[in-house]
Symmetry: C2
């Protein structure tokens, strides 16, 4: 039996029309260092239409990729509004990637047009000669005349391109499953991988972002989008603000604590989204230069966990509630948000708040062990997290015919590569990456939990825990320890093992302890356990063996 409901698609063009009319007074504000420039959602509607006309004249058609190389600002929002609405595909290039990776992603996505901030033109000039498909560069708030482009690439100034064009555009009716935007994973191992979002997935995800289970955005809110628009579409804040009528506050390139706080003082945002590092910097600056930031009702952090002491600093000293979220490029960003359940009290609240959070209604979840068996959601058992749902990717983008699925998918579920536990009430706590978790005698040991415990010992400067092959147990934990200066005589492996015994079962305690001068690190400063495993395999890592 069919329903009698209408069959219109979820559509970002409709969303733009809605925002530009019903929420015409909401604003997109960009900080310029000392002051702000501001446009309304009404103007956003007009300018997005003008931009669509301009792009069509440049030959941009359905499904063509239109890239940005930009900070978070008002014009970036205009590109966000226009490109998916006209049926093209928005690709916000990650300006933080290495030139090689920028070249790889732009060529892989086959970007035809790139919008470049005037303050980023020299970085972009450097990579442009290696971009094979780019035909047009549009310089935003800069000077196209001074831009050095290879032959075959036309360079335009943004404002003259829009000027005098009609303020309305006949946006097409699209299949809601058609591509609207794409992002690439940061690719710490191997090439970045492309994820292509649909109108449907972005709409549903943005709707969730506006609910109280996520950010609870509404008209009258001003949302400070620090998370970059090239980082999973700024966690969908551009679309969530259009849905809810919340105004957007954009920091452009002013991401240091001092200008961020000057902007907050002037613009008084009510909510914000950023990675924890930003807040570490803000806390330090606030300690020296007190400022009331309690206009921030709530702040969502993701990308990594924020230390509980820092969360408490913001809550107790600044009256700002910091909320954990977890997600990845492959999950359109929000998978979980750590609002505690209403019944939680006292320290229990903090236990919930330090988790990665509660799953969204449209994110199905399960844990799997090494044999592919389901792991119970008992708040204790560890497994690799797999997720499924309408805003979860089912493959990676390939310019050829075949989608790239290798190893990342399990019967329609996304394998996240994250290991954790899930409580009976749907809260996720991640403890390790799947490649780092130690699988010993059929049980899993979190390398991160264990190294954090070792590092809690006062004599220890740094410690990395990694798995090494073991005939009887398959794998056993091995600990590489850097002692603090002058502590070499005060502790040995037995002391550190005893230190662990309070928190770990006997069978989990590591036998192998390597005292080293430093822990090898990756380019982004993380422990490089691959190097440690190789040193161990090649017998280049001296260790003590206990028990």
């Amino acid at each position: 039996m069919l329903s009698t409901m209408q069959d219109g698609p979820l559509s970002l063009a409709n969303l733009l029309r809605y925002a530009a009319s019903v929420h015409a007074d909401a604003t997109v504000t960009t900080w310029t260092g000392a002051t702000a420039r501001r446009r309304t959602f009404g103007e956003l509607g007009t300018r997005a239409a003008q931009l669509a006309h301009a792009l069509r004249e440049l030959g941009v058609g359905t499904s063509d990729r239109v890239a940005t190389f930009m900070w978070n600002n008002t014009e970036h929002m205009e590109v966000y509004a226009a490109v998916p609405a006209m049926g093209a595909v928005l690709h916000a290039l990650n300006i933080r990637l290495s030139p090689e990776q920028i070249v790889f992603t732009a060529n892989h996505a086959e970007d035809r047009v790139v919008f470049v901030d005037g303050t980023l033109t020299s970085a972009f000039e450097e990579v442009l000669p290696r971009l094979r498909t780019v035909r047009h560069v549009i310089v935003v708030n800069g000077d196209a005349a001074g831009f050095r482009a290879p032959r075959g690439v036309e360079v335009h100034d943004y404002e003259p391109l829009l000027a005098a064009r009609p303020g309305a555009y006949g946006f097409p009716v699209l299949d809601e499953r058609s591509a609207a935007a794409m992002c690439y994973t940061s690719g710490t191992t191997g090439d970045p991988k492309g994820v292509v979002y649909s109108h449907r997935s972005l709409f549903l995800h943005a709707m969730h972002v506006t609910t109280p289970a996520a950010m609870g955005l509404t008209t009258g809110d001003t949302c400070l989008a620090i998370v970059p628009m090239f980082h999973i579409n700024s966690w969908s804040l551009p679309f969530a603000s259009m849905l809810s009528g919340a105004s957007l506050l954009m920091p452009d390139r002013f991401l240091q604590p001092e200008p961020l706080l000057a902007m907050m003082e002037a613009e008084r945002p009510t909510s914000a989204a950023a990675v924890p590092t930003i807040w570490t910097g803000l806390a330090a600056r606030l300690a020296a230069h007190p400022q009331d930031i309690s206009h921030l009702r709530e702040v969502v952090v993701g990308g990594s966990a924020m230390p509980v002491t820092l969360m408490k600093t913001f809550e107790e000293q600044h009256r700002v509630k910091v909320v954990h979220g977890w997600g990845m490029t492959e999950t359109s960003s929000v998978g979980t948000v750590a609002h505690p359940p209403a019944r939680a009290t006292g320290e229990d609240v903090w236990r919930y708040r330090m988790s990665q959070g509660r799953f969204a209604p449209l994110v199905e979840f399960r844990l799997k062990d090494d044999d592919g068996a389901l792991v119970p959601h008992d708040g204790k058992s560890l497994g690799e997290l797999e997720v499924r749902g309408p805003w979860i990717t089912g493959s990676y983008y390939s310019p050829g015919d075949e989608p790239v699925e290798a190893g990342s998918f399990d019967d329609g579920w996304l394998r996240t590569g994250d290991v954790g536990r899930i409580s009976p009430d749907g809260y996720l706590t991640l403890v390790d990456r799947a490649k780092d978790v130690i699988k010993s005698g059929g049980e899993w040991i979190s390398s991160i939990d264990m190294e954090n415990d070792v590092m809690a010992h006062p004599a220890v400067a740094e410690a990395a825990v990694f798995g090494v092959p073991d005939e009887r147990w398959d794998e056993r934990p091995c600990v590489a320890v850097v002692l603090r200066d002058g502590e070499a005589d005060s502790v040995d492996a037995a002391v550190l093992r005893e230190h662990l015994a309070g928190n770990w079962a006997k069978w989990q305690l590591p036998e192998r302890w390597a005292f080293v001068a430093e822990i090898p690190k990756t380019s982004v400063g993380k422990f490089d356990k691959k190097v440690l495993r190789r040193q161990y395999a090649e017998r280049r890592l001296a260790f003590v063996r206990l028990g």
Copy 2:
């Protein structure tokens, strides 16, 4: 270009799984007159699975209609959870309809199974012999043995039917556009018309209900669902609570002010939804028996507008914010909700709050005049409201092949039959029904606005304004007036016309004034303008003519 997103459906079975696990501790509480009975969403999951097994054993298959004849209570919620999840279609029969209309809707929907509350069995026994397709009656909290059923109808008790069945069910994966539930319009003219909701439409609508633009429901909320589950699915509160983890409070048959207030005192709901009449009764009771009801953060009223004085009484005396909403069976309920924009201050806030509200993001809207031309959204021009979107019906249900569209649809848009104006910021103000608005010289005059103004004169007891044919202007307003006792000498038509002159343009002022003993009314107490028009046409209505 296709997205790489997964292609799973929006599914009420997934929603049930989510609620029963992640929000297992949320509750459905039913008032029993002096105390409450309570089950958790975890138990809801188990019992819905048991119910699905039972229904399958009774022969219920995909798309079969399963009806209810019940108050709002925990077991009704179990039927809501089980029936759509198993692929059958929920039809909550409106127990307030006349026996003839109940018979019509149950036969038209071809209901096979009906759940009946023990307190409603005698009313249902009366209609059952005329129900052609019902094969099973399931008595909830009553006595099946005492139920008089015609031959061919099996009668069961609810609890024994569930007992000892498995607590898990393999709910099928369904097309999200397949039927999940149906409701009938109340059909003040002609037969009730059926609207069939899909999994998609109910899911999207419920998601919207949880956003701050509507009710902002979240875990920790307790939502008092006074609006009946047979009235547009209780405005989707059963599904919105499963999405958000808000607990539900159900009044069962205790809808009088005294037990409602006793229930509120015991259960302290944080939000509520009901028609205005309920709140009129509560206000009267509260005046005589003061009680703190400020645990109610916000209350949504719909079905008709609440008088501003009553809204202010709740806000100022009881610290309860009452919010208008507008919708109809054909719009899954919520089309607009009257939260004022954040920038509004002072009396402007009340102007927004007394409107029908701001349109939801997924509800496209337009106004049309008599010639089918678009009317501007300038906050002044009147037109018939048309809406479009994924939770708006595109036809009416027909058991045959052809959907019923006659006159109610305009090129894919639903004609609401409501006349109003829309402000540039997307707020709807309804002024009349399309059949009652007076079309004079190409302009529209709201009969309701005008009769309210006439009734504002102290000498007037009641007044109805209706359109009568006019050679020059097509239509002109005619006023039927009932004067208060003893006022016949103090006012005449000229005085009342002069009274209108302050608010109306000269061309709008009515010439024809009929002084009558009473205004004819429909069975539900509304002015019957059809009768007045007929009396006028048949020259049975004596009137004075001015100007």
